[in-house]
């Protein structure tokens, strides 16, 4: 069951629902009584600007799920590419899905600047990404997700990592009515390195679900994960992080952290960090905290002349900033910082 299969078959019973353990906090079935009609093609000339404009002219656009150019983003052996991947939903009350493959050959480098851009209302959008990395390849994926407040949006990425390859990801989102941004990684070990970071800044009645599944399958793999979120209003943040270290995947080093700030009484965070370890001699750890802003720190800042809402924004920005600081591509880091700053107002 998945949103993609529901869209393909037109069968609402295919929608993930809360009776499934992995979807209990992101009930798509409960949010959609019927599947809306298919989205129109959209107007390519009117997609407007994206959050990474100016960083690369190499743009791959999916408009209402339809590829405007290639459906495979390929980087040849030892080559380097910086590409923007834009998922634009320029429609209302309709549904669409799209799929892209990203193939990064041995020793190649890709910086993928991905954006989810909601330009309509109450759309249902599905995105599927399949990453394949060759040995020693390197990918940095930076995602800024900006869906409409009443949209339903799911993105599912699978990543096949290779020995000595590196996949580093930062997903930042402002949520939607129901939104799930999921990443599944098969990690062969062999000196492969994985970073899966995330951040959510959600207010109003929004919902954001960052789910990751990492399967360590061989010796000597590294994974580090840091997700930070801030929820305000009646928003709901979901973090599910599962790391499975298979038998024989010895010397795996995996660290997972999820930390959330709850900024209002009605806001909610559901977190499920899981480590399943079947190997020996591993270094694995996870930390999970959910709390409010430090009142003493707030008073200290206010006592210096900063109004309360600004003091709250300053502390929230600093909190989430730790994730942004880990973005390696400088231009993307600046774009992410600006994105965070622009979303603090919605939390005030």
């Amino acid at each position: 069951m998945s949103l993609a299969s529901a869209l393909a078959t037109g069968d609402v019973a295919e929608l993930p629902n809360r009776r499934q353990e992995d979807w209990r906090w992101t009930d798509l079935r409960g949010a959609l009584r019927a599947l809306p009609p298919a989205s129109p093609a959209g107007e390519a000339a009117a997609i407007g600007s994206g959050p990474f404009d100016g960083l690369t002219s190499d743009q791959i656009v999916f408009l209402n799920g339809r590829a405007q150019s290639e459906t495979v983003i390929a980087v040849a052996e030892a080559a380097a590419r910086t590409a923007a991947l834009r998922w634009v939903s320029q429609t209302s009350n309709t549904a669409h899905g799209g799929k892209v493959r990203i193939v990064v050959a041995a020793g190649a480098r890709l910086v993928l600047l991905e954006s989810y851009e909601g330009r309509g209302e109450a759309y249902v959008a599905d995105a599927v990404l399949e990453f394949e990395l060759g040995e020693g390849a390197s990918v940095e994926r930076v995602v800024l997700a900006e869906d409409a407040a009443d949209a339903i949006s799911v993105s599912t990425a699978t990543v096949a990592l290779a020995p000595h390859a590196r996949f580093a990801q930062t997903v930042l989102t402002s949520g939607a009515k129901r939104q799930r941004l999921e990443t599944q990684v098969s990690h062969p070990g062999g000196g492969g390195e994985l970073r899966l970071d995330g951040g959510y800044l959600i207010g109003g009645a929004r919902h954001a679900d960052l789910t990751t599944v990492v399967a360590h399958q061989g010796l000597d793999g590294r994974t580090e994960q840091l997700t930070k979120g801030a929820v305000a209003g009646a928003a709901r943040g979901v973090f599910q992080g599962r790391i499975v270290v298979a038998e024989g995947a010895d010397h795996t080093d995996a660290r997972m952290g999820h930390h959330a700030l709850i900024l209002s009484d009605r806001a909610e965070v559901d977190a499920k960090p899981e480590l399943e370890i079947y190997a020996d001699d591993v270094a694995c750890a996870h930390g999970n905290t959910v709390g409010a802003l430090d009142e003493d720190a707030l008073f200290y800042i206010r006592s210096r002349g900063v109004p309360e809402h600004e003091a709250r924004a300053l502390l929230t920005q600093a909190f989430v900033g730790e994730v942004v600081d880990r973005i390696e591509h400088e231009g993307a880091r600046d774009a992410a910082r600006a994105w965070v700053a622009s979303h603090l107002e919605a939390l005030a």
């Binding site: 008073f299 200290y300 800042i301 006592s303 210096r304 002349g305 109004p307 600004e310 300053l314």
Partner: protein
Amino acid sequence: MSMLSVNNLHVRVGEAEIIRGLSLAVPAGEVHAIMGPNGAGKSTLSYTLAGRGGYEVTGGSATLNGEDLLALEPNERAAKGLFLSFQYPLEIPGVPGLTFIRTALNAQRKARGEAEISAPEFLKLARAEAAKLKIDFDMLKRPLNVGFSGGEKKRMEIFQMAMLSPHFLILDETDSGLDIDALKIVAEGVNALRGPDRAMLVITHYQRLLDYIRPDMVHVLAGGRIVASGGPELALELEAEGYDRFVKAAA
């Protein structure tokens, strides 16, 4: 007219009344010291004047330049020129010291209807003040107070004070945790801010600080009120005799 005027102030923290009928007047241009035993209510007084939540004023008044201080938000009090150097300065992870102070300075300026300070002007000022306080400029780029020693935090308080240039200064045990060299540097920083249009309340447990920051008056706080006031010689008396006499008087 006094710059700071506190009249028959009563403050409750939780169930307990900590400040119990405290009166105090500090005229412009003067430095007053408040001394008293641990638990006397010195920090409670300073937090109340700065507007910390949970400090419930149940009676009396406090004015700054004739304006009701207690009706203002903490940030409004700061914009009116009040500054509290905290006994225990907070750590602010993720916010570099310079960013913190520039945010505060511009917020105060905005509240007063003044223009923002330009980046070059701010940096110039910061470099000059940091040099005076022997603060390594790189330290100001680090998250404020995070991992700093007690003495470094106190020096950062005085740096913030110098940058914000307040009119009424409350120093809550700024001397604690400082060695004698640091104490001299901090005292110089404080003395540099003395002037006819400024006033200070220097809270301390020990007389030592008052050798470097000479007060015009010394008050003894015990049991939530001022139980004795006098000239600088009162501090020496306290140093010699201890607080017992005053604690008994307050009881």
